[in-house]
Amino acid sequence: MKKGLKITLISLASLFLVIAIAISVALFCIFSPSKLAKIVNSQADRFLTCDFSMEKAGLTFFKTFPKIGLDLENVVLKNPQKGEVSDTLLYVKDCVAALDIRELLKNNNIIIHDFSLNKGLVNLYIDEKGNGNYNVFKTNDTSTTEYRIDLQKIKAKQLDIRYQNDQAKQRANVKDADLTVKGTFEHKDINGAAELAAESFAFAVSDSSSLHFSGDDVKVSYDGSFTDFNLIDGNVRADIRDAVLCVDTTHYINGMDLSLASDVQADLDNLHFDLQNTQLNVDKQELKVNGVVNMDTITHDIHTDLHYQTGDWKIEEILPMIPRAVIGNKLDDMQISGNIALEGDVKGTYSDTQMPTITSDVAWHHGRFAMKDLPLDFEKADGLFDLHLDFDNQSDVTVKSLSATTRKRNRVTVSGTIKDLLGKMLLDIFATGKLHITDFKDFLPEDFTQYEGQADIRLKTQLQYDPDKEFSVENVKNATANCLFKNLSLLYHDTTSMASPQMQVDLAFPVKERPYKIGEWLNAKIEAGNLTISNPGQFNISGTDVHLDAYTNNLLDSTINLKFATTYQFDQLDAQIDTISAQLSQPKGVFALRNTNQIQLDYAGSTVKAVAGNTVKFLSQTLNLHVKTDYKEGENNLLLQWSPTVQLQLANAKAEIQDVAHAVEFPALNIDFNPRKAVLKKANLKFGQSDINLTGTITGIEPYLRDKGLLKGNLELVANYLNLNELMAFVNGFGAPDSLTEQAKQVSDESGDSPFIVPFGVDVNMNTTIKKALYEEAEFNNIAGRVYVKDGILVLEEMGLTNEAARMQLTAMYRTPRMNHLFLGFDFHLLDIKIDKLIAMIPEVDTLLPMLKSFSGNAEFHFAAETYLKSNYDIKFSTLRGAAAINGHDLVVLDSETYKNIAKKLMFSKKTENKIDSLSTEITIFRNEVDVYPFLLSIDKYSAIISGRHNLDMTYDYNISLVKPIRIGLDIIGTEDRLKFKIGKAKYATMFKPEKRKVVESSVLELKTLINKTLQENVKDDEMMRR
């Protein structure tokens, strides 16, 4: 540095220092502290109405350089008011103000260029009448001098500010505040900017409802106007740490960091706040608010009209902030998380009795939701909701869209509404889901041990949910579910499986229709292309094109029995149970379990095929069935247990039964059946060659099944053709006692015999009209009569029949008391029969009366016999009894070898004409003895009485008593091949001459009469025979 310059700078500095010292000395001389204090006090009186004092006042140059400043110490403003705790309005320990002295002195304007406070206290008070202790500036200054305070720069440090408004019952306290203010203060108007930083602050309202708001580390700034000490119009920013907002006992904010920025217009007198561009941050959660808040100065109700918008809030952080007084315990059993963004309005009044209405559009993302009574947790939730919270009335939620994943891979979507969200929720929900059944084990009964498949579900439900009560299915007002199952496979008890490649199940709950009156509660419509239910080794049921429309009563009410009813329709239904299998084509109908003891089955279908092992095969082209059962406990018999009422119609049906030679065909069958009575309305059946139409009633079914009575039938049988051989084999042994059945088996095993066993336990009366019947080898025509079977006894009663040989009447009885002791009895009358035809038809006649084959012509034949048979139908001769009467007219004696021998022995003329006018004989059979009672035979001029015996071994002992023209006897003894003819005594020479008849002959005649009379007692008159 050049020496000249250095000298110059040192010179200037010295000069500046001298001038400053000179000015200071001059100011101290002119404005000494005492003089200056007098000036300030005098000036304060001009502006202030309150007491003003200070300990010390001085001018400073250095503190306010380049302005000259006024330095005051221990400044005190006192403005005591009644009710005020302290009379001090303001206390400042140290105050420096740079005043524009010239402006002050010349124009009475206080222009404070620089103002600073260091440590002080501000104590603002408003009494109950609204008078504030801060109204210390004179407004009615007689000097008419207007004052204006222009605050260019005000700084305050370490100020404590207290505010008490007894009129509004408000209190505020700011501790250790640093304040920076820049602005103007003219009359009651303040314009400028202020920044306040305080260690803490608290604000409280203690009205009918209390409010407390406090915080630490408070930073508040305001830039705007404060007009007439009432109207605020400016921008406010505030940051508060550990803020607490409490209304009454409810903490709305508790220990959170708050950040607020807002353009505020406020009317403090009316407590009206208009907030614009307001942004509130509570901790990390952002809230933007615009609108108006107004507190009624009289009622202190808070009226709100706000619009708000949040940032993305984390629900798990937000929910704890919601006061319990607001939300109650609604969320106690709920877990909800995720990001949520809200935008909406808060409108209405907040008071002791009212809450404002809050509406909000809610967007929820990346959420998770779980609730105690909801057995499903949801994650990856995204949703849009409209929320309407009206705490005084009803709060609702509209779910615009909600999708979530439950149990890892099952996606569900939901939309709908929730009415009365905070009360008894009424949910109107539409939900869809793509579910894996495996994931929902807990929803299925434990009885299901395996389950696979997917389900596309569309659920629409309306239900009530009261958080204060346990949820039950009765809260579901209405629910419909459309479920499309794919590759469905269920296993029940590890044994019974159900499978369907695709099955549609539509559920409706509760149901309004009552088609079955079973307390319909749930409706399920099931459609499946293919459905299989099976239990390997037990049963297998499969259906195609399945349609079920099922109803149940309340499945969850354990106090009532299950009731179930469904219509069903299949294209094909195949069932196999044990050894029974059935194929049903296009079956449809109704199945109803009306109670545990009442079942109804209506069935209509086309082709039915059924097979029961190797026992029965059944085929029907048409089957209509209506069954109602009434199950009764304590019954042993299945039919009595179920007590069915059956209406059965078959058409073109056919049954093949094992060991039955012929199939039973039912061209038409119409039967009504119940345990009391079976009515055969129409039974057209074909069995082998037989073609039968059967009608009538069967009664006594119940006593029969209880072994207390016989099965009674009263039937009309009309047949074009009846093959008795086939039919008897068919009904052989029906209902026979076990002992007899065992005998039959034993006999069959030992000898191969299988005699016909008459059905037991039945009492069936059958009126028959049969055009043609076949028995053994003989055919009979126009058969009419009564057949009845009664408990092991078969009776043909007065059956009229004809054939080419004769008109006949047959009464027969067949009984099977035991296998080797079969009873056969008959009463047989043949009228107008040709003898040769008779022998051809009944060869046994030749055995009874061998001589008959020597005659030709017509005869009447009355024959009654009975015997017991062995199991092979061999006659037990010791039991054989019989009686016969033969009456012939206009007979011709055939020219046999025997006749020639007789004619020769009796010296018949060769010219003898072999015609017989009449023949009338009685025959008895006893054991193996056939006794021919004496009868008179007239041939040409000869009359002979023939009598004798032959044994069934065909040994003969006959006597011919020739009584005309001479009396002579001829004994014929021997076998048929070796007959001996011996002339002897005429044994009955006078039998037919009453006047000469002997006692023995009379006795014989009486016996003849007895035989004949008892034989012909049962013959109907000819007219009846013809019918």
Binding site: P817, S878, A883, I1011
Partner: protein
């Protein structure tokens, strides 16, 4: 003349034959008048009688039943009849269930406490011993 003698002899032979035949017939017929019928005590008939495998049971009231165990028939399955015993004529009328009667007439030749014997007109003889 010889022819006339031959005719006379022929007529004589035939007359002798006829007379002889008539005498025989008369004698045979007349025998009935001399037939002697033994009278048996019908009370002895009551009870069980056995002939081989054939049983007969007579009630005092004129009913009875018979069965043959050879044919696998038991007493319970026996067939019933009514009977009369007039002098030596035993008449059994076997009644059939279907209607109709089968009369059988026998001549009793012996009836005592242990033995019953009878036969029919065709030479069939029965000998019973009392069973019980």
């Amino acid at each position: 003349m010889e022819k006339k003698i031959h005719i006379i002899q022929s007529i004589r032979r035939k007359s002798i034959f006829v007379l002889g035949f008539a005498l025989v017939v008369f004698l045979m017929a007349g025998c009935d008048h001399f037939n002697h019928k033994e009278k048996f005590d019908k009370t002895l008939l009551s009870g069980y009688w056995l002939s081989g495998t054939l049983y007969e049971y007579y009630n005092a009231d004129g009913t009875g039943y018979t069965w043959d165990i050879l044919d696998d028939v038991t007493e319970e399955e026996a067939q019933h009849f009514t009977w009369t015993l007039e002098k030596s004529t035993l008449t059994q009328i076997h009644q059939m269930e279907m209607g109709g009667n089968v009369p059988k007439t026998y001549t009793v030749t012996k009836l005592n406490a242990t033995t019953l014997e009878y036969h029919d007109n065709y030479g069939k003889y029965y000998t019973f011993t009392r069973e019980r």
